[in-house]
């Protein structure tokens, strides 16, 4: 009853344009103009009024008698090699169309340039343009080889997605009936733990505003609870991690959910590491340490070496805050199912399983690539085990680590999770380009994963929040569409009731392309 009320009270936030503040944008194609051949006849601008016609080539640059100019346009995109009208119309052959070399270096196999660009589009306007792939990456396995069966049957059109009627995408974060609140969130995601230190305070605030607007949660991460987040306390998870930075009874009592972080998918078995450069006086104050000294969080909790210790650890939090839900964040060893059942008996409400391809502010490359298994394997293992033990319906399983798109979220739910925890996608919405330089020197050159006071000014919290809100608006539409395609009324029905078992590459509306027979 209480749940229904809260759902009625919630109003889906509005999409408001939040365009990039950068004057230039990366497109897939671009036009080069050879000034020594150009006679300024203007034919190209006539055949292509949207792109070349409204391009910004400075008069001063055009006055130069020779050299190659890039024809750039902050608003429209070049249609590329299929069009070439400008090239063909040019009487002096001064124009060439090419794939933008910057598009080629953007992103990586998991986060392709297309995924980054389409996430930016969704953050700006609440809708992907369809120009770029917005569902899968190019890693050659896992999500990138899994499709919903309807995707194989016909093209998914953006218009159809945005016309799909509203479906129930809410999930409940406590199913234990342990007297603690049954918190419901209207979308099956909340936002991941990132500390002040790994990201800037302004980014944390942006994420908190977005979490409040979507009536979901964000997390403090391991870097303490900055006062700036107190206005959003109903939407902020307090994380208790091995370093215990800024963790005290007050911050544990403040939260509706407390997360015990045992491991992180990107560097499981290793502790946290914040390099000295990023420990500015403000970071140091909140973490109660000395500035500009590298900070290590040990691995693991040295008070938890057994399931019994784990039980006491969970109970400790529950005793301090009788109303909070306890979330346990673990990574994915081969026996992750055992860990899951242990956490169930320890009394956890939420189990967050963080897969090996998860994000990090800094980790040795050897760990990121080689330790722990991907989330696509871990979730079915955990789900199946809990089903067999007969306790699946009491645990909430949140998947994280390598979940990039609305379709990834839906796929992981169809593989046995209740919902997902989103980190990197939110940062990409804010303008992250996945360049991987978060850890060095002043930190992120885009002002996201930085503690540098000047760089962090690049992100305005209100603007950033709107971009994250817009991204989730777009995701929400995509979930509506998937559910309507599958004939389901609620995203909770997408989670399998029984064990995950693929037959001939198919299971629960999913198709694995490598195993399809």
């Amino acid at each position: 009853m209480k749940m229904i009320q809260s759902r009625l009270a919630f109003k889906v936030p509005e999409v408001k344009p939040a365009v990039s503040k950068e004057p230039f944008r990366i497109g897939k194609f671009e036009v080069l103009l050879d000034r020594s051949k150009c006679t300024a006849c203007g034919l190209c601008a006539q055949v292509c009024p949207t792109y070349i016609g409204s391009a910004i080539v400075e008069y001063e640059a055009f006055k130069k008698p020779s050299g190659i100019l890039r024809v750039t346009n902050a608003r429209a995109m070049c249609e590329g090699l299929v069009c070439r009208k400008c090239v063909e119309s040019c009487p002096t052959k001064a124009l060439t169309v090419r794939i933008n070399p910057q598009y080629l270096i953007l992103g990586d196999k998991r986060w392709t340039a297309d995924l980054i660009l389409s996430t930016w589009e969704q953050a700006e306007s609440g809708k992907p343009s369809g120009r770029y792939e917005y569902r899968v990456g190019d890693s050659g396995g896992g999500f990138d080889k899994i499709r919903f069966d309807f995707e194989l049957e016909e093209e998914v059109s953006i218009n159809e997605i945005f016309e799909a009627e509203d479906r129930d995408t809410s999930i409940v974060l406590n199913r234990r009936r342990d007297g603690r609140p049954e918190i419901s969130i209207p979308i099956p995601v909340y936002s991941a733990d990132m500390s002040f230190g790994s990201i800037s305070l302004r980014v944390m605030v942006a994420r908190a505003i977005a979490a409040k607007a979507w009536n979901t949660f964000t997390s403090t991460g391991e870097g303490g609870y900055p006062n700036e987040l107190i206005p959003f306390k109903d939407h902020v998870i307090t994380q208790v991690a091995t370093g215990h930075f800024g963790v005290n009874a007050e911050t544990v009592k403040r939260a509706r959910i407390v997360c015990l972080k045992y491991a992180q998918g990107a560097k499981p078995g290793l502790g946290g590491h914040l390099l000295a450069d990023k420990v500015t006086p403000k970071v140091a104050e909140i973490r109660e340490v000395v500035p500009y000294i590298s900070l290590f969080s040990p691995f693991p909790f040295h008070n938890v070496y057994s399931v019994e210790d784990h039980y006491r650890h969970v109970q400790l939090i529950k005793d301090i805050n009788p109303k909070a839900l306890v979330s346990v964040k673990v990574s994915t060893p081969i026996d992750v199912d055992m860990v899951a059942i242990g956490s169930y008996y320890a009394g956890a409400n939420i189990l967050q399983v963080d897969g090996g391809f998860g994000g990090t502010g800094a980790a040795p490359d050897i760990a990121k690539k080689n330790i722990a298994m991907p989330i696509e394997y871990a979730i079915p293992m955990v789900h199946n085990y809990l089903v067999r033990e007969g306790v699946r319906d009491e645990m909430v399983i949140m998947a994280s680590g390598g979940i990039r798109t609305a379709f990834d979220v839906a796929k992981i739910i169809a593989l046995g999770a209740d919902g997902a925890v989103i980190g990197t996608s939110e940062l990409v919405a804010l303008g992250c380009k996945r360049c991987g330089n978060c850890e060095r020197g002043r930190g992120c050159p885009s002002g996201i994963a930085t503690t540098d006071p000047a760089l962090s000014l690049l992100i305005d919290p209100e603007w950033g929040a709107q971009r994250i809100i817009n991204m989730y608006c777009s995701w929400k539409k995509q979930w509506n569409y998937i559910l309507s395609k599958l004939g389901l009324s609620s995203i909770r029905e997408l989670r399998p009731k029984n064990e995950v078992k693929f037959r001939k590459g198919r299971f629960n509306h999913l198709v694995h392309l490598d195993h399809l027979r």
Binding site: S20, P23, F24, I26, I56, E58, E60, A61, K64, L69, R70, P101, Q102, I105, D108, K109, R110, S139, G140, Y262, A266, P268, G269, L270, H273, F296, F299, P300, Y305, S306, H310, S331, P333, V339, G356, A363, P364, D365, I366, A367, K368, N370, I371, M373, P374, E376, Y377, M381, G401, G402, K433, C435, E439, R440, G441, R442, P445, F502, G505, H515
Partner: protein, 470 residues
């Protein structure tokens, strides 16, 4: 037992590799090219935007040529230029480095490790392929909650990376009064599971061998040197050298055998011939009874049979080698060779009577623990240190300007420091992995397939049909 630590110093010291910045005489081509097109009208937004100082204002007050080596590919300048004048692209010269296995990124990492001795660290999640072949087809398992991890990298707990070379008896015999009557064979303990293979390329071998011997002595491990390449300058490092002798060479180099702690009989080019191994072994034992004897086999062809036979006739070590070029074309060969040989010897109950050293396709730090998980005791690195010294991975095909891998006489010190740095960085990464797995010594990792998560198995278990996986 002749331990690595004791050979260095009579009192106990924690093993530590001293790394030092060591700039090689050339650099790799920068990864990115930063081009400024004619659109530039000198608004200098890029100078403001770049946090890596790629863009600067020149003396003439205009935007100067970008410093490409400093570029990290963050796209900041390109996005903040109001005229769209800046284009950052992948440098084709960088892309051309190496091949599909020794990728430009791997070469870049090796260069960084050799230069600084540090562990490559970066932000954001892993961006590579979901899985791959060979060493890339499995992940490490790690400790969680109920299995304590070990903190090796920050020095709070000591994790041993020592391994033993040599045979261990299957069982011990005691007389009635409890005295040991078995003769326990000599083992040699090396403090890292990495030895330096003999150089592959032919250019300026003598200096390279000297640099290798020097590094081996600093690291307290071994460098393999061919009897043909043996020169007098190496005699100072004799206790850190493994003497490799080719077919029918043994009798010609009896003098060298006498002073070598380990002798490697190279059967790379030959079919299995137990009599010959027996003969050679008998000869080496006669000349130098204390030396360990290793048999080296090349490639996959009947390697398990050869290994089994040579253990039975009494060799102390097996060196399994596969050409790097073979691994490039068939990365899974490493799994078949190491796992196949290890499993065969375990099944025959003779695995502990020999140490297995593996070489070939070792291109990054993770390949050391991965070889060990598959069943090797130690690895020998070859191409990796050659890359650190300028090899461009041509696999024997000639460069127009000659092999770029040259260790000039004056460079020996620097070259050995780079090798030491590389091994130091790899050891630190080994410690990270062991710590994460909760292991206190690398010996326990050998053949521990339970500490590996294999892609094929998981993929079938989760996404395959049940009938197929059984």
């Amino acid at each position: 037992m002749n331990t690595g630590v004791n050979r260095l110093n009579s009192t106990f010291m924690r093993y530590h590799i001293e790394t030092r910045e060591a700039q090689w005489r050339f650099k790799l081509p920068p990864k990115f090219r930063v081009k400024i097109y004619n659109n530039c009208v000198n608004v200098q937004e890029c100078v403001q935007a770049c946090v890596y100082n790629v863009h600067r204002v020149g003396e003439d007050g205009r935007v100067a040529e970008p410093v490409e080596e400093l570029c990290r590919g963050c796209h900041r300048c390109t996005l903040s230029c109001p005229k769209g004048a800046i284009c950052v692209e992948l440098n084709p010269a960088f892309e051309r480095l190496g091949d599909s296995y020794f990728t430009p990124e791997r070469i870049e990492n090796i260069f960084f490790e050799a230069e600084t001795g540090r562990v490559p660290v970066s932000g954001a999640g892993y961006g590579g392929a979901f899985s791959g072949r060979g060493f890339d087809s499995f992940w490490f398992d790690f400790s969680e909650i109920v299995r304590p991890t070990r903190d090796g990298i920050h020095g709070r707990e000591y994790i041993s990376t020592s391994v033993d070379l040599g045979r261990k008896p299957h069982n011990l015999f005691f007389d009635d009064s409890g005295n040991l009557v078995s003769k326990v064979p000599e083992n040699i303990e090396i403090p890292i599971p990495i030895i330096l293979d003999a150089p592959l390329s032919s250019s300026s071998k003598s200096n390279l061998n000297l640099a290798l011997a020097k590094s081996a002595s600093i690291l307290n491990t071994f460098a393999i040197v061919s009897a043909d390449d043996y020169s007098d300058d190496l005699s100072d490092y004799g206790s850190n050298l493994i003497l490799r002798i080719g077919p029918n060479e043994a009798r010609k180099v009896a003098g060298l055998i006498k002073t070598s702690p380990i002798v490697e009989l190279d059967y790379a080019d030959n079919a299995l011939d137990e009599n010959r191994i027996t003969d050679d072994l008998r000869f080496v034992r006669k000349v130098n009874p204390a030396a360990l004897v290793s048999a080296r086999f090349l490639g996959e062809d009947s390697v398990t049979e050869k290994s089994e036979a040579s253990v039975k006739v009494g060799v102390d070590m097996i060196h399994l080698h596969v050409e790097d070029e073979t691994v490039v074309h068939d990365p899974d060969v490493v799994k078949r060779i190491i796992r196949g040989t290890h499993t065969r010897l375990v099944e025959r109950g003779i695995r502990d009577q020999v140490s297995i050293v593996f070489s070939g396709g070792i291109a990054e730090a993770a390949h050391v623990p991965k070889s060990i998980i598959l069943g090797a005791d130690a690895v020998a690195i070859g191409l990796a240190y050659e890359i650190a010294l300028g090899c461009k991975v041509c696999h024997g095909s000639k460069h127009e300007a000659g092999c770029p891998l040259k260790v000039e006489e004056g460079d020996v010190e620097l070259a050995s420091q780079r090798i030491v740095n590389l091994v130091g960085s790899w050891r630190d990464q080994l410690l990270e992995v062991l710590g994460g797995m909760g292991l206190r010594e690398v010996r326990r990792l050998r053949g521990e397939l339970g500490r590996a998560i294999f892609f094929e198995e998981l993929e079938m278990k989760i996404f395959g049909d049940e009938d197929d996986s059984e």
